[in-house]
Symmetry: C2
Subunit: 385 residues, 2 copies
């Protein structure tokens, strides 16, 4: 990396459906978009080595600022040469701002114009995160893409509070930009606004006036249901800058990705494939599979006969079931490898469909596939709850 | 493997010290001895894939009959093509007989001339293991080396009971040989006798009259201390058949291996390197290291600067400490990889020293090394307790 490096985004192709094929240039190389980032909360994508993460096809991963700030500490990571060297991952890394975790994990917390004070979920120690501090922490980590501190309002939430929160988030966005000292690291703004189309549009328009390297849609996939999420995207993405990457935070299921790409989203992250893998829930071309089921006891077939991943090439359903029931560490590994491979294969196919100008048909085919129908059933059951 | 295959052992060289260099021929290929077998209790060496186990230098692994019998069940494994295919390991496998686990893990148990009745530690179900049944289970698993059912008497234990137990173990040994139906799978007898030199000699001599493919020394490393263990070996191995492999069960520390090889032992297994790895205790050329220590917080050096394993080549002490403190799955993986590599490197050096006819000096050098002194300190502390 030279001093002159600046992050940038090439919009390579736009499909008639609205899907975008792009390339995000970071200090640690390019990322082909649409892209899905596996989550590596504590400087490790749980259960896997960096080589394995790369072998699934992942180009960029996500780290959590809140977690790394508390343990091992951003100054420790900085002194050890930054997050890339610390965890032995030489590809691009995006870190979230910690805002979401402060609101979901921390004990006591107090929001003010200055920032957010909170108690660590680990040891109860008190901390203050401000927009400036959050940029400083991420610069210490050396994240290729940093995220601004934002408030993630709960769902549901009244319109008046949402509007206030939005205004504060925008003031914080300006402070974040001013705090930046390493221009080779990208900084993304975050759009809030709940499921209110008007607030989302206003958020998009006001953030667009600020010179961010990319724009994220936050505050979705927090219980509003898939339909509401997609309606919100419909009301948001048309107002976002066309030549900057668009990142839908914390989303989602395979079907969520397919739908959001059609609405012009370029980047995703989610714990779903890794967390469900550790819980024995696997994504396959035939839909979701709970590997613990007794029907797999003597099933010598691979988990997914259509999958080329190491897990499917080397092990039977019976063995995966045995490992999971026996709580063996290898279960988490083999399951995580498969789920991430499934997600990255989906992203490869998404990119190819956009390049072919055929994304609408691809999305329709996916929706009516076994996998798509399985996901729609899951989404419906969730909405009913 | 052809129908005509029969297991055999070549004694390639004997060092002036008494150490032996050999080659055990199994249905799944040869094993260079002295060899250390990583423990793969439930059809997985915990935390690692078979490829990784092989990459540490391990040629043969151990599976646990008791555990596999209870879960997933030997008939399930047999129906899926045997243990090798089930777990995707194509090298030799030795299985213990389950006797040790019945005496250490099972709830209720009742010993009779017929065998041992016990309750599963998993669900309380009742089972009877007889010498014949144990051979049948191991043949269903397809173990390259099967072990006879034996009683492992507690330590300490009175001489009269030991003598009775020994006589029964010998009767069970004869029944085990008679029950065998797959002659391509080796069957090893097990010598008991506590720390009584006279009983051990008698056990060795009477078992030697039976046509086993190898002979194991059982009932050691159960709390008697290293000195007593080595004295017992001194009284035992001279009476064991010279042209059959000798296996010291459940042993041990690096120093135990060095000492036992000098007393003519060819095979070892132990949970020590894998279990301590998961507990953050690592074997290095400078002695044992507890990776959680605060002094490693910002230590950018590899765990062991003399080690070529992937863990030491790719990660810092600070990162290993962070993973361990964060209870990350990757900690168990990287630590296990290192400890097994350490053990296999020791075995390679042991074999080379025997080939060079220089084992006595090798052992002396090891004893006075940092690693050897660290192990002696551990042994002393244990004896004092």
């Amino acid at each position: 990396m030279t001093d002159a490096f600046r992050p940038s985004f090439d919009l390579l192709a736009t499909d008639p459906s609205g899907a975008r094929r792009g390339r995000l240039h970071t200090a640690h190389g390019p990322v082909e978009t649409p892209a899905f980032m596996p989550v590596g909360t504590l400087a490790t994508v749980k259960a896997l080595t960096p080589d394995e993460v790369r072998a699934t096809g992942a180009g960029m991963i996500l780290g959590n600022t809140y977690h790394l700030y508390l343990r091992p500490g951003h100054e420790v990571v900085r002194d050890l040469g930054g997050l890339h060297r610390f965890m032995n991952w030489d590809g691009p890394i995006l870190t979230d701002s910690g805002g979401f975790q402060v609101f979901s994990l921390a004990g006591f917390r107090k929001l003010s114009e200055e920032g957010v004070a909170f108690q660590s979920h680990l040891d109860g120690s008190r901390h203050l995160l401000t927009p400036e501090r959050v940029v400083g922490i991420q610069e210490a980590l050396g994240s290729d893409v940093m995220m601004v501190l934002d408030e993630c309002p709960p769902h549901p939430c009244d319109r008046r509070y949402l509007a206030e929160s939005l205004a504060r988030t925008n003031r914080w966005a300006e402070r974040s930009l001013a705090a930046r000292t390493r221009p080779e690291l990208a900084l993304f703004g975050i759009l809030q606004g709940g499921t209110d189309p008007d607030l989302r549009r206003r958020a998009a328009e006001s953030l667009a006036e600020l010179p961010f390297d990319g724009y994220a849609v936050g505050g979705l996939s927090v219980g509003e249901g898939q339909d509401a999420m997609l309606r919100t995207l419909d009301a948001t993405t048309p107002h976002m800058p066309r030549h900057r990457p668009r990142y839908l935070m914390g989303v989602g299921t395979p079907l969520d990705l397919v739908e959001a790409v059609e609405r012009g989203i370029d980047l995703f992250d989610c714990v779903l494939p890794t967390r469900t893998a550790r819980n024995g829930l696997l994504f396959t071309s035939q839909g979701r599979v709970a590997i613990k089921h007794a029907r797999f006891e003597r099933d010598s077939r691979p988990l997914d006969e259509a999958c080329d991943c190491t897990t499917c090439q080397s092990y039977s359903r019976a063995y995966l079931r045995h490992l999971y029931r026996s709580r063996e560490l290898l279960a988490s590994r083999l399951n995580t490898l498969h789920n991430l491979y499934y997600y990255q294969t989906l992203m490869r196919r998404i990119r190819a469909a956009i390049e072919a100008g055929d994304y609408g048909r691809f999305a329709e085919t996916f929706r009516s596939s076994e996998a798509g129908r399985s996901e729609r059933d899951v989404a419906r059951r969730k909405t009913r709850r």
